[in-house]
């Protein structure tokens, strides 16, 4: 990055962001949100991204997750260049990514197990029922939710729903994890448990974690804290 963050592209980086700029709208409504951003994340690294609203944190997350197409610059995720990637390629990147959203976005009609089973199917590999049940039970168990395997969202508290959503993100053993305020609806104890699970996952699979958060409790747990403002990284740790 121009402000001292530019480094040579590390070929071993799990996520390599290089000179990325992004603009919403066009003409008079044109609004640049990211400016020549560069950042490398190693496998297993837990990076917290923080900063005021409008800083471009979420846009960065959506670009890394292949939820948006790159305009300029380069992002390599697990060695795959996202610039110019077609729809099928974007889908493949998404399948390797564990997305955790601020809202749980669970279907009311599906139990926790059915939600996780669906995520496994969308992960691109057919999973036998017995194995799916075991994986769902283990995943929910790690998050202290084993007893809610067959519960529907209306039977769960907000924090429990969020933990099911986190289990959905992790059940396919993702290669990268992108989270946006995942602990906003969790109490202290649950937050510790969730972060513990995320870090275990990162350690086991080598998946880097990029977490957008304002939760100060998490800063101490991160390997690196990046502060953004006005589309630029202002304070790398």
């Amino acid at each position: 990055m121009d402000n001292g963050n530019h480094r040579a592209l590390d070929p071993s980086a799990a996520i390599a962001i290089e000179a990325v700029s992004y603009t919403f709208g066009s003409g008079s409504a044109r609004k640049p949100v990211l400016f020549d951003l560069s950042l490398h994340l190693a496998g297993g690294e837990f990076v917290v991204v923080t900063g005021p609203s409008g800083a471009g944190k979420t846009t960065l997350l959506t670009l890394v997750g292949a939820l948006r197409a790159l305009q300029t610059g380069s992002i390599k995720v697990l060695g795959t260049e996202l610039a110019g990637l077609d729809a099928r390629g974007q889908l493949e990147i998404r399948r390797k990514t564990g997305f955790i959203f601020q809202d749980h976005n669970l279907f009311d009609a599906l139990t926790s197990y059915q939600t996780l089973r669906l995520a496994m199917e969308l992960g691109g590999r057919a999973v036998p029922k017995r194995e799916a049940l075991q994986r769902a039970t283990d995943m929910l168990g790690e998050l202290g939710m084993a007893q809610h395997l067959h519960a529907r969202p209306r039977e769960l508290s907000t924090g429990e729903k969020q933990r099911v959503a986190i289990a959905r993100a992790l059940v396919n053993n993702p290669s990268i994890i992108l989270a946006d305020e995942p602990t906003a609806s969790l109490d202290r104890q649950s937050t510790d448990a969730v972060i513990g699970v995320l870090k275990n996952q990162a350690r086991r699979s080598g998946a880097p974690i990029v977490m957008v958060t304002h939760d100060n409790r998490l800063f101490a747990m991160a390997n690196r804290i990046i502060t953004m403002a006005d589309g630029r990284i202002t304070a790398p740790s």
Binding site: L67, D103, N105, D108, L110, A169
Partner: protein, 376 residues
């Protein structure tokens, strides 16, 4: 694949109130389509009754006879001319008319259709040919259609029936024709009785039997070459087809029932679209999440179409049950045989599936165009 189906089913059945409401609309649409199709086929059958009963190798009729219930008659002399053509064994004129028949129990006059022909070589398939020929050879006798609606009083062989003109004829036996939407019942009599008792008339058509081994197309060509251009010569199948095509394409009744079916389709489509669209809109973020975590557009389409097809299948079953009760009620009160035929059922099922699939594809657009990036 199976999980996509199961998930679609769960999403559909979860909002029970909305599901039942939409199902009601689709079932009503299916019932309307069933009834319209059955009534249309009933009308078509009634228009083609004579054509469907024909037994000959060929049939001759006035070329301007656009359908059998329009009274452009066949010039009698044509039957003689046809009989003189090489390869023709026998020509049987067929008369059709309607008369008023008195119910001897309540005294009321009811319309009844009459078929008449010479009693030698039964031209229409209404029972045992030898027996019917024998009975019709007796003077002033009629054969009563035993499947007529029960509006003519008790009819028994050996008894008399009375016409509006006070004329009485003896019932010699029964035939099997069956009522239709236009006609409540039928009588069969010999050409001699018909012409003698009901005045001079000309046949509506003539059934042509060929000599054994004669080539039908050759004989047809020879007949057409010999006769003036006022005669059409068709096979019985062509005559039936002409009747059906006329009813479906030209007669207003075909258009009316087609509009009725279209109305059913629209009602069903709107009901189906409403539930699917509301389902998608209410859970747009959930669908977008599926997209974000690796759900392809094809998967999302399958999810919505599963719901559409399940709606069409359950709606078809419920609407079919309603139509079945309607048929039973109509059969009880009118004697009309409105059967849920396999072909009608397949047609309505195909229409129901098409209408729900169309609604589903419209609804799925709001899912496939949703932006998963908006979730963050």
């Amino acid at each position: 694949m199976r999980l996509g189906f199961a998930t679609g089913l769960r999403l559909l059945l979860h909002a029970r109130g909305r599901f039942v409401g939409a199902l009601g609309g689709i079932a009503m649409a299916v019932a309307i389509m069933f009834v319209e199709a059955e009534l249309l086929l009933g009308i078509v059958d009634s228009q083609a009754t004579v054509a469907q009963l024909l037994r000959g190798d060929l049939v001759a009729m006035n070329v301007s006879l656009t359908n059998l219930h329009k009274w452009n008659r066949l010039d009698e002399v044509r039957t003689q001319q046809i009989a003189a053509v090489d390869g023709v064994a026998h020509v049987t004129p067929i008369y059709e008319g309607a008369v008023g028949m008195r119910n001897l129990e309540d005294g009321r006059i009811r319309r009844i259709v009459v078929f008449a022909f010479p009693p030698d070589g039964l031209p229409i398939d209404i029972g045992d040919a030898a027996e019917i020929d024998g009975l019709l050879k007796r003077p002033d006798t009629v054969l009563f259609d035993r499947r007529s609606r029960p509006i003519y009083g008790a009819i028994a062989p050996g008894g008399d029936i009375e016409f509006e003109s006070k004329l009485k004829l003896r019932v010699a036996g029964f035939v099997d024709i069956g009522p239709d939407i236009v006609n409540d019942g039928a009588l069969v009599m010999s050409e001699g009785t018909w012409l003698a008792r009901f005045g001079s008339d000309t046949p509506i058509m003539a059934a042509i039997d060929l000599v054994p081994g004669a080539d039908r197309e050759d004989v047809r060509r020879r007949i057409l070459a010999r006769l003036p251009v006022d005669v059409a010569v068709l096979t019985p199948a062509e005559a039936r087809e002409r009747e059906i095509v006329f009813t479906l394409r030209v007669a207003p009744v075909g258009v009316l029932f087609a509009i009725g079916m279209l109305a059913g389709l629209i009602i069903g489509s709107v009901s189906c679209y409403q539930i699917l669209f509301n389902e998608v809109i209410d859970q747009q973020r959930q669908y977008a999440t599926l997209k974000a975590i690796g759900g392809s557009d094809a998967f999302l389409r399958r999810l919505i179409l599963t719901q559409a097809f399940v709606l069409s299948w359950i709606g078809f079953a419920a609407g079919g049950a309603v139509a079945w009760f309607f048929d039973a009620s109509v059969a009880r009160t009118t004697g009309l045989p409105l059967d849920l035929s396999g072909a009608t059922a397949m047609l309505v099922l195909a229409l129901a599936m098409a209408m729900c699939a169309g609604a589903g594809l419209l609804a799925v657009r709001s899912v496939t165009t949703s932006d998963p990036a908006a979730l963050y």
